[in-house]
Symmetry: C2
Subunit: 455 residues, 2 copies
């Protein structure tokens, strides 16, 4: 018999991790709700017709596909087998695992658009699966927490996303962070301006490395990627743009001739103004003209969030897309969305030691089990503790006390009630504080009182 | 472009259903925690070596299998293709979707037994997937809520499961239910007694129909299933066993010669006694000698729960198994578990109208949007509402009020704050109660006060 193992790139979440992850999920969920987002859950698998072609060629490859049930191969000809795995896949598989939360959301909006109250604000917290090569910090199963508004062009949505992040992150204890913002229209305008229309993708990839590799190398890369000498010269201002609080003045001068760029700048200015009215005291937002993130997708604002004081990639990203449901034949539904990466957030919080001490998912008090009489005595107390809302258990076997206390210790149970013949006679139980070792004689009611205060 | 659709047998859960489902999950989770169970989550897919052979031949067929990534077919020979789909499956698929929560739990226990505090009490609330033919009330994706204790033989675990059910179901509003209990050892003893050792499976299937088809037909079926005339005669007492509160006296007389049956009866009597000490006022438990549920699996107590006053199958089931991890090469780990079916519970609650009115996941108050000035005015109030813990939003576009109120109505938002020029001048805002239609002039602080009380 071989030892069982986890599938590659997947993880179990034991009690300790679950308590921490639940803290993150609950905090995010609470903020989403406070902003008027409503919950949605979609199935783990979708028809491949819904998923294929939505994530590019690479994405299609990274989709986990489910083998058709029953005799999937009976009707196939020799030729089918010899065509290679790609055409073969479509003949033996009809379903795939959820790859992100956006495409299923788009499908949901299309299928329910007759009954949804628009603008529709939904949040969705579910795992997604990608057949990526597993490596440190990259898994084949991971959770996404998405909030999207669809059915309105209002820039309020962009401002609200900034607010939401300023709500969620401090609530998690992440106080130092930066929300980087850009606008796709500005990138389109720049590409236009330098005579490289439509090349904003490679432009951003190259410019993004400025901090790391320096201007000279970036210029080299731009030339390699097909930008002309002239285009690169015209890009000069991008290298010297200051990241000041009001960074738009310089940009406006430089891009004065591009209508679309000016529109993008104006949109950002409006977002900046609204954030001010919304009253964040010290907004941690920063304009970053090189920010691109899955460019093909976004049509307006683009967001990315990084935590400071840690070497961990972005913990959140999003933006505005003008054609969420176009691929399903329903054009003209605009939306803005943000996605939070729970695994990265978890890592940030671990590294900065931000998880709260209290673990109220765990047992608060354990009743010991000396012998049959003491067990029956304790059994009668147990439901009283629980009725008071105290997480409680009784040790199931009459084994050595050391073993019982060891169990409580390993389970991080802070209190143990010791019941022996003295305790049964007097009705005063011994409450042992497992951290300090201190012991007190108290009645059952007094114990309930004391522990209830700590919940 | 074809209309997108859901994969067969799967469902979306929109906001209204999510609020109700979350209520069920939260209630169950709270009870699990109060009883000292700790949370666990395992991956959606497992290596097929972990899953295959654990659920019988039918189960193996009903596992959703994931096609290997990349060129899964390149190395296969013509012969491989012609062998039929079963042997072929193992060559092109290594992973399968979770079929239940028990096998992944067993794998987890085996992989972590060095570090787990035993007895280990865990709960797990996750979806499972089965390639069953979809039909009314039967889905290919559904949630299970399991709680198990492993690593102890103590009958306390059985009594605690009875308690747990008496905690969870009333908390959900399900006050009339019955927890049916049997013990595998009694069934084994009966089969032995009537000269049909090992035939407790078919015995239970037939006897279970007594209520529906009557004694005569049951006898017919037993004979068909290979029981001798003599065996059936010896079974006579089972047809007349009364389901009294103390049903064990008759049974003890009848089965006096079967050591194993007496052991089973003694176990149940102990559970009954402990439940009494645990102080449930009116325990809704019932001994049912025909209860079997996946017999091959259970070795001691067997549970099944039905809600009364509705025609819906069992909402929970479980029992004791003595060899959870034996299949992974680690024998001797005994456990007891219970599984709650959320879909069935949902249906019961819908039918009996048990969901609470309050939907605190939804927006509590919406600020209207008359024009740019009023919008900016409202924008400044929004964060104050949220800081007070009130779920709030502002309508993003300056459209006709009717449309805005219609939105609030469809989203079930109970209050709307109307802001016009009067309101901006006086600072007294109009709070509209969407149910009664009543309007009040209040300051922002007064509104916050009023709404906070209702959370």
């Amino acid at each position: 018999m071989s030892k069982p193992s986890l599938a590659r790139g997947t993880r179990d979440f034991g009690p300790e991790q679950m308590v921490k992850r639940t803290f993150i999920f609950d905090t995010i969920r609470r903020s989403f709700q406070r902003y008027g987002f409503l919950p949605l859950e979609t199935p783990a698998f979708e028809n491949l017709s819904v998923l294929m072609g939505k994530y590019g060629d690479e994405g299609d490859q990274l989709l986990f596909k489910i083998l058709n049930s029953g005799d999937f191969s009976g009707k196939l000809s020799d030729q089918d087998w010899q065509e290679g795995y790609k055409p073969l896949t479509s003949k033996i598989s009809e379903k795939g695992l959820r790859y992100d939360l956006t495409v299923p959301f788009a499908r949901y909006v299309v299928m329910n658009r007759g009954t949804l109250a628009m603008p529709f604000k939904r949040y969705q917290i579910q795992p997604v699966w990608r057949a990526d090569r597993p490596q440190k910090g990259r898994y084949r199963e991971f959770y996404q927490c998405d909030a999207d508004v669809v059915g309105t062009d209002s820039l309020l949505c962009e401002a609200e996303i900034v607010m939401l992040l300023h709500d969620i992150l401090p609530a998690l204890g992440i106080k130092d962070f930066v929300v980087k913002i850009n606008n796709r229209k500005i990138l389109t305008g720049i590409a236009e301006m330098v005579g490289a229309s439509g090349m904003e993708g490679p432009l951003c990839v190259a410019i993004d490395k400025l901090d790391k590799i320096g201007k000279e190398k970036v210029v080299e890369e731009l030339l390699e990627r097909g930008f002309s000498e002239l285009s690169v010269q015209k890009l000069e201002p991008i290298f010297v743009l200051s990241n000041e609080k009001e960074p738009f003045a310089e940009l406006k001068t430089w891009l004065a001739d591009s209508e679309i760029a000016l529109k993008g700048i104006q949109e950002l200015e409006e977002v900046w103004a609204m954030v001010k009215v919304l009253g964040i005291e010290n907004p941690q937002i920063e304009f970053d003209v090189t920010l691109a993130r899955g460019l093909s997708y976004y049509t307006g604002a683009i967001f990315e969030v990084k935590a400071k004081n840690v070497q961990i990639g972005s913990i959140s990203g999003g933006g505005r897309y003008d054609n969420l449901t176009g691929t399903f034949g329903v054009p003209g539904i605009s939306g803005v969305g943000i996605s939070l990466g729970v695994d990265r957030i978890y890592d940030v919080m671990e590294e900065l030691n931000l998880f709260p001490e209290s673990q109220n998912a765990s047992t608060k008090v354990m009743i010991s089990n000396f012998d049959a009489d003491a067990f029956t005595f304790g059994l009668a107390i147990l439901p009283k503790l629980r009725k008071a809302g105290i997480n409680a258990e009784i040790y199931p076997d009459s084994v050595k006390l050391k073993k019982q206390l060891d169990y409580a210790d390993r389970k991080n149970i802070p209190y143990v009630i010791l019941i022996g013949s003295d305790e049964m006679q007097s009705g005063l139980l011994t409450l042992k504080n497992m951290r300090s070792g201190e012991q007190q004689k108290l009645s059952a009611d007094e114990i309930i009182n004391a522990l209830t205060k700590e919940i």
